[in-house]
């Protein structure tokens, strides 16, 4: 059982900004109808060359970082396409947490819905952290979710913010759909008010008469 309150392990540095979800999960891995089998696709074109041979100098292919479960990366990580496959794939490749100064908005929510911890630190802290873990001897990190700190091998601590909601989602793994379904009576009451006020907002697509000229 994963202990979601404390994440410990090897952190890999990937100091690139705007790493988009097309690169995190290239499109040829998006043909599934379930969530399985995505580990291979994760960061695929950065990990493997056109002949599918590992690219030796890519960080995750280096022995010291091959077991990494934490990724320390540049700003706006996960920008671009909404594909949640990027989150599923990172988890299937073994990642429990990402540390960056900012994230693409959709990616951010996708991660929360899957209990992938996203830590936000200041850009200068990311730089310091990257420098420290770039030394294989110091590549171990601990993320204490309860205390909201990242602790380096040398004992340095970086505090981070987490809203009560995010913290709850990580620690308790809240099932949002089930939680919201309990509010269905409230939703239905809203619908009646909303359609009474805005009848034009009610669409009934199956009964719409759409003709092709």
């Amino acid at each position: 059982m994963t202990d979601f309150s404390k994440i410990q392990g090897v952190a890999a540095p990937l100091p690139l900004n705007n790493l988009d979800t097309d690169q995190i999960m290239p499109k040829r891995f998006l043909f599934g109808i379930d969530k399985s089998g995505l580990a291979d696709g994760t960061l695929h074109d950065m990990r493997f060359d056109a002949d599918d041979k590992p690219i030796a100098d890519f960080v995750l292919n280096q022995p010291a970082y091959a077991q990494a479960n934490i990724l320390v990366t540049g700003s706006n990580f996960g920008c671009g396409s909404s594909r949640e496959h990027a989150v599923w794939g990172l988890q299937q490749l073994g990642f429990d947490a990402i540390i960056s100064s900012s994230y693409g908005e959709i990616f951010y929510f996708n991660a929360g819905n899957n209990r992938l911890l996203l830590v936000i630190l200041k850009p200068e802290e990311i730089e310091e952290l990257t420098a420290e873990i770039s030394d294989p001897a110091n590549n171990q990190l601990t993320i204490d979710v309860e205390r909201q700190v990242v602790i380096t091998a040398s004992g340095r601590e970086f505090a981070f913010d987490l809203t009560a909601r995010q913290k709850g989602m990580i620690l308790e793994g809240l099932d949002m759909v089930q939680a919201s379904l309990r509010q269905l009576p409230e939703i239905e009451a809203f619908e009646q008010r909303h359609w009474a006020q805005n009848p034009w907002a009610k669409i009934d697509l199956p009964r719409m008469n759409i003709k092709y000229p």
């Binding site: 998006l30 043909f31 969530k35 056109a50 909601r165 379904l181 939703i187 909303h194």
Partner: protein
Amino acid sequence: MSRTLYQKLVDSHTVARIDAQHVMLYADFHIMNEYTSPQAFGGLDEKGILTHRPEQNMGVVDHVNPTHPDPIGKRTIRIEAPAKQAANFVRNCSKHGIRLFDINDPIQGIEHVVVPEIGCVRPGMVILCGDSHTVSYGALGALGFGIGTSEVEHVLATQTLIYRVCKDMRITVNGDLKPGVSSKDVIMHIVARIGAQGARGYAIEFAGTTFATLSTEARLTISNMAVESGARAALLAPDEETFKYVREHVRDMSPADLDKAVEVWKTLRSDDDAQFDLEYTFDAEDIEPYVTWGTSPDQAIAISETIPTDDKLNDDDCKALDYIGLKAGMPVEGTPINRAFIGSCTNARIEDLRLAASVIKGRKVAAGVRAMIIPGSGLVRAQAEREGLAQQFIDAGFEWRQPGCSMCLAMNDDYLEPGERCASSTNRNFEGRQGRGGLTHLMSPIMVAAAAIAGRIVDVRKEF
């Protein structure tokens, strides 16, 4: 208290407040495609529940389908995995009673092209879709934005989303666009100036005299690509042009009902003294045809400019230049191309095709260039054929194909080979987006048409 248009749309769709930052937001309409929805339906199956409001949901196959010029009604997906994905989508939609535009439906096309043209985007609505370019609908004063697959499941189950409310940004552009400059250039200029992260966490409202002169289709291009600056939403207050567009496209409202609705839609604007957290102002006079030189949509310059010099480039820029095979300080103008692509939810509407055709004027695609035009939808395709545009493209040597996302993201069998360089009317020049090792230069459809004919990237104003 005075409010922005964005705040009004959020307020009018708030079912419940969750905490200081989050609300439960009601979705008037929800669109799904074949590749970001399967696991959401899977989640519902596991819980044994059905869609709460199937009639407010829609499915369309657009990403994986081939665009072979097969006759309408005769398209097949010849590759196994995408064929299975499409078949699975048919099963899911039929089980849930959701209207699906399958590949042989004549209305089928790119989701964000189809939805406005069938009249399902109306000012004041909230529209969600498991696709980041859902921001497009802001062009009509509707709050649209992309969501992930877990959220698709949540919307299917409850017709709502747990949503973090954004900050407000206003981008004002005043003045008239110069000849040869299109709405694509406006948004590329803005993205280049504010950066790929410039609007992260914000809902943008576009304002100013420039937008007032643009058609709804041109506005859709702008709101569509606003997501490339990280924006969560991109709104334009609806005006007479919007009402005219909606009247022409809505199928299920009487003229009297439309009149009543327009009275409500006229109130959809930011209050005069509404506060924005961040403001930018641009001058339309300064905007020229744009072209990207890198692998992020903000790595772009006006066609008359040169790529920034070394001292102005950061590590990401250098990596991008390395990939794209260009050098600091050089122009992009004159770069030879092998491929040209007019398509995508940014620029494959009828007006885009009319503009592209106006550049071609009897000329031919340059030798050695493979040029493709993928109409945004079945309706666009039919219209272009009726207007004779399709024949002009074919005569000029363009491939005229069936609707879909096609080489915008190359999930089908349209893609760039490694090293092929493409002038593209799409929205993302990410590494490998159009095919592994492919080199993408984003630009407006008339710039793509001009490049196809010249065989190199040119300034459409100079040579056409």
